[in-house]
Assembly symmetry: C2
Homo-oligomer: 213 residues x 2
């Protein structure tokens, strides 16, 4: 039986989202600062950008590689798929492109009733109006012995964490203070109970904290 | 010229104070969890508890030792001296004992007008009704080439951090989630600008983050 996993980049003050997007800079400088180390890894360059032989190796890359390993299905929120920007548009296929970088079933939690979307490369998006528990059960069935990843966004991740449904949480803590956004840790007092917590600091300054059970 | 330094234990979610004190347990379990690694170091055992040859060595102890080195004066808030529990009591000499573990001038920021208190072991408490800047200037004059420590509490530390008056902030991030208390990081967006930030993880799981300029 696989595990239920979450991986996130967060700031030292716990923020997993950024708020400085503008029409001219839709990603924002804060997001670039938050993800710079991750984006710079060899794994990200190869798996997401399709570049070979580029990017950093070492501890940050080891954790980046783990993110892609042994996953058989994913659960994500409507915003992560891209429904918030294109509500009730039946032609919109999300912003993950023609060949999304998943290659397995993805359950998108939404109140929209949309038909299943089968993409190139093995990714199938299922749109589910059920509870987070039901969506996870369906993803687990698909994943079999492999893990299920709760991809995001942060509010969905926080729901799964608060419900005690996550077996492994890895956060890459980036030593910057964002001061605003969605805080991963809000109302998660004593989340560490029942988990083994490990910490590792990379030469980049990023600290990898893992809660595992 | 010395540096202005701050050292704190904080939880992974940024809390530097705890809230579970009761009349039966005036320190509280959270404080014990937050400070367990620090209290377990050889330095703490020797310098604060007067025990010799006990406690951990290694990275956590190295940072604990640094806390005591090269300090020539300290600034602290009224609560840390002990005035909040004994307001307007001229006989109260604080809760640091007859021989406080400082051995140098300590400036206590308070609205109470109290005479200077000269204790055994070289500690002199000065009670000042001035601004945080004035108190720091007086401490710097006393410290000379040595450092000035802003000892606490957290709200005073946050005032000094926000005012840009701290040269070196070391936090021992303990991998527990307290979920409540005073958050060190609140409203300190981009505090890292102008500092070199380093991170080190100890085998205990505690992560040492240092902002230095």
């Amino acid at each position: 039986m696989g595990k239920v996993r979450v991986d996130l980049n967060i700031s030292l003050d716990g923020y997993a989202t950024t708020t400085d997007q503008t029409p001219e800079d839709p990603i924002g400088q804060d997001w670039n600062r938050l993800t710079a180390t991750y984006v710079g890894t060899r794994t990200f360059r190869e798996r997401v950008l399709g570049q070979t032989g580029k990017g950093t190796t070492g501890l940050d890359n080891d954790y980046a590689a783990e993110y892609f390993e042994n996953v058989g299905a994913e659960v994500m929120g409507a915003g992560m798929f891209g429904l918030h920007d294109h509500p009730n548009d039946p032609d919109w296929q999300g912003w993950w492109g023609d060949t999304p970088p998943f290659g397995f079933p993805v359950y998108v939690l939404t109140h929209e009733d949309r038909p299943t979307l089968k993409m190139e490369g093995g990714t199938t998006f299922h749109f589910v109006q059920s509870s987070i528990e039901d969506a996870l059960e369906r993803a687990k069935e698909d994943a079999g012995d492999l893990d299920v990843r709760v991809g995001g966004g942060v509010s969905l991740v926080r729901s799964y964490l608060a419900a005690g449904l996550v077996d492994r949480l890895h956060v890459a803590v980036v030593p910057i203070l964002l001061g605003r956004g969605q805080n991963l840790w809000a109302d998660l007092r004593e989340f560490e109970r029942g988990y083994k917590v490990t910490t590792e600091a990379a030469p980049s300054g990023v600290v990898h904290v893992t809660f595992a059970r």
